[in-house]
Subunit: 310 residues, 4 copies
């Protein structure tokens, strides 16, 4: 496949998928998200040679939200090692909603099923090193900056403040984790770290770049240097394929067939073994919380470029 072809395909698929945004709705649980333009739609692709392709609103900024769960996992695995993380959280998919608390009470293991549901992600946030929530958040952003090959990444302060003010369910989950003895630090501090990580501001090109790093098992194809360990990249991709797309993970595996993670801000991060990372921005979400136009685009790209790894 020629480079020209990729750019054209991306552009065409962008055009063909744009209308699917009308099937979705922007998240409204906090005002800062509700302000997003439902018609916004951007695609980006970074291939294994480090070439970058873009279509539409690929440079529009949005908050990373749940996609941060993958980056936080990679970060904490890098800092503390796999064992420290997975003694507190499992690696298995669950049929429960992302914000469910029920399994913490009923499952025998009494640890969250995986790091991509809220309970597991909060456990991971609690493991981040640092002297304070602000320090932990800053270090995490520095890690993301290194991953993206740029000096730093910003945080959307309005989203951060808004999530922090309204997260009753996450507070319930975090206190339950505290009760179970698997949450490090103070509950409010750990939640603060979690809200900070979710409010990191990215664009579709950033997500494609992360996807490219993952697809090369931790090597950045742009700078041609290792940024995370191969094992860390594999753990992230494995969890993405089984649990990355909320209650639609199984259907996504069938329809698209690549590891991916979505966020309520409208982003999707996808990674195709040895070939490419893909970043999506489309804030109009389907009923499961995944970007409607983004799903359409990934389905089409998977078919046209034969991306499926399964």
């Amino acid at each position: 496949m020629k480079t020209e072809g990729l750019a054209e395909t991306l552009s065409r698929v962008h055009g063909e998928s744009k209308a699917a945004a009308a099937r979705g709705r922007v998240a409204t649980y906090i005002p800062a998200l509700a302000k997003a333009d439902p018609g916004a739609f951007g695609l980006a692709l970074v291939d294994s040679t480090g070439s970058v392709f873009e279509a539409g609103d690929a440079r529009a900024r949005f908050t990373i939200q749940s996609i941060s769960k993958v980056l936080a996992l990679a970060y904490v695995m890098t800092e503390l090692g796999e064992v420290a993380v997975f003694s507190r959280v499992g690696k298995e998919p669950t049929g429960d909603p992302f914000n469910s608390i029920i399994r913490l009470e009923t499952s025998a293991s009494r640890k969250p099923f995986n790091p991509l549901i809220n309970a597991g992600a909060i456990v991971v946030s609690g493991l981040m090193p640092g002297s304070s929530p602000a320090d932990k958040g800053e270090r995490f952003r520095a890690f993301v900056g290194r991953l993206l090959g740029r000096g730093g990444v910003e945080r959307d302060e309005a989203v951060y403040a808004s999530e922090k003010a309204t997260a009753a369910r996450n507070r319930s989950i975090a206190w339950f984790l505290k009760e179970l003895g698997i949450l490090e630090g103070e509950v409010e501090d750990t939640l603060d770290v979690y809200f900070r990580q979710c409010a990191v501001s990215v664009d579709a090109v950033d997500l494609a770049r992360v996807g490219a790093v993952l697809c090369m098992d931790g090597m950045d194809p742009v700078r041609r240097e290792r940024v995370i360990a191969a094992r860390t990249a594999r753990v992230c991709k494995s969890l993405m394929v089984t649990c990355g797309m909320y209650d639609g993970s199984g259907e996504f595996a069938v329809d698209v067939g690549v590891p991916a993670k979505s966020g309520v801000g409208g982003g999707i991060l996808a990674s195709v073994r040895d070939r490419m990372g893909i970043g999506v921005y489309g804030p109009a979400l389907d009923e499961r919380g995944n970007s409607a136009a983004g799903l359409e685009a990934l389905r089409r790209l998977s078919d046209e470029l034969d991306l499926r790894v399964l």
Copy 2:
């Protein structure tokens, strides 16, 4: 990678993995399974050119058990189409045990999460065409025979009779499905079909052959002809990657990274996109019900042959 290399690698990995059987135990819930030799261990590999490689007890016969769920799904999708199947069963992974009934009562959709847990598999069995359980079972075996490129496959009558006599939990599940209105036909008849399909007798080479068909998206690399539709193969592999290895599916995705399905008879079927199918026989099971030596071998093969698709 040369053909010679594959044979040698398979043989070496077989030798290195054999001892892991000591970590497992043969299933004992029915006498017919308890008689298996815990030290038995066979590996087989069919590559994309149709070449077959074997090591150890690759021709030893065992019952296919839960691996039949994948074949039954492929069969029913072939006969009735995807929509007919997935209107009655979902495509999503679940954190519940394979024989759980709880979600049928509590989930909003009131359909089994996926066709690889017992509840979903029984729904699939209920969809098989035929005039009687015996006829349905025979037609299914004919389908498996076509898939394997041989005249027919046998059924282990002792296992069939034994499972039919003891399956209280599956009867409970089937009656619950009946109550929900998603089970076709008479409950006992459908269970009879299910027990028949689980008792089909195969060897590791057979499983590798199926894996090879799936890896080529439905083309049999030996006879070089299509045996199932590409979409059907993809659905099977997607479900295998998210739900194929019982409660260890997530960990398997991390450690091995390929679609696979195990059975309590000791078999594992694995499929590596574009490259190969792998079949395993090792009846000593770990605490999750997966072949202990088989898991060890697949981990090693994945590392040595760089098999992971994630």
Copy 3:
């Protein structure tokens, strides 16, 4: 309170409560029940001296249904003793629906919460002595006959056959109990006993008579002789007060405040310590499965006669 007063009160309350039947609907899950006259309404009262009072359709026959769970418990406790019964079933209320299966899978004790939900009642049916389902059913009817001071009681064959033909949920429950190892005998045989006991035909006077026996801790106030042990009567009444009125048991305790058990056939059995038994027939049921007019009448009788024991 004079005898004349009781008769008049009963008659007046009957008149005042009759209209409440319009708020209910006759059960329709089997044709034999759907034929009931929704406007039918009878009340009966047997006081501690053995005097009998009636109003309306107090001699209309209907199937005892879930009220049989109390009689079956009394019977099996009489035959086998308390320990034999309660080693297999608990004494605790549950917030689950009467036909729920979920707690059998999730609760630590793995036995049904109490004998007044279906799972517990089926366990009790499994304990009945006899050489066959028919024999067990006959012996149970003989026990009910003794309790009612008459030669025998009949069974509604149409209801029995109809329930037997349609009870998918109860079959699911019974097989689950079998799997747990707490169900005696063959599943279908035990269910047959259960369907037989539910189809016993009674009238409101019968239920009042049973209530009177329970209110006198096992002494029949009519014949002035003991028919069941005091402890047995107390166990029955205790379970009735915590679990007798389906999902409305707590509200009934608040509003009426006496032990009672309802059935989907429209009956209610109530028992007021030292004072009286009350029988109700009113087949129009509220959304929880309790006789709508019956509830109204019991609320009024409780207020007017100061019946509440709480």
Copy 4:
């Protein structure tokens, strides 16, 4: 029954039941409770004429803990009416543990099953009138003082501080209630009120006095004046009989047969319609959290004085 008889019976039962404390253990989840003397044991009885009887440590002080749930319910019903309370919490028993959160997620009604489990009690605490947690706590204590016919009641500051510092599970529950929209006010403020009410200091005579008020449907038999509405008293007693003794409520109904509520501080409050209130203090708890010696004493008193209302 003569007054002399009651005093003697109480004294004798106290002696006979004292040894049962050895079967229990003092609660240790906070240091302030762990300091209790496991051998301490007091009984008190207030009859319908207002006569008071005591045996053993009937004047020893302890924290009221979960028994406050009954008083808080009476208080809030008095202040706001039944409808305001029961639009936010149910009246039904549940088979779940007192500190369970699972039903909030899975039940259709999305309100706590009853006011005697923690979730329901926290909702009730949130309804207390006042300008601040301290003010609300003070007003509640004033209500308890009125109920007890004395100027005021104290709070155990060490217990209050200790519970406030350690209640991760209750915080999890409260945040979940907040998410559901059924918790009034700020979460931490409401929990503060809840911890304040649980730390109210009483003795067995106090509990007997409350039980006597409830047994007379709200009339204080000592001062011969109404202190709470009859309906309020009945609601409290009804909930006590179905849900008052944690996971042992059903068995207690069988064995003792009167409305009662226990607390982890070792107290039990019991109320016998028209006859008496009983107060117990015995901090050695059985595995369900009920006073071991207290249960023994109540079983014996029920038999000897024929207390059971069921």
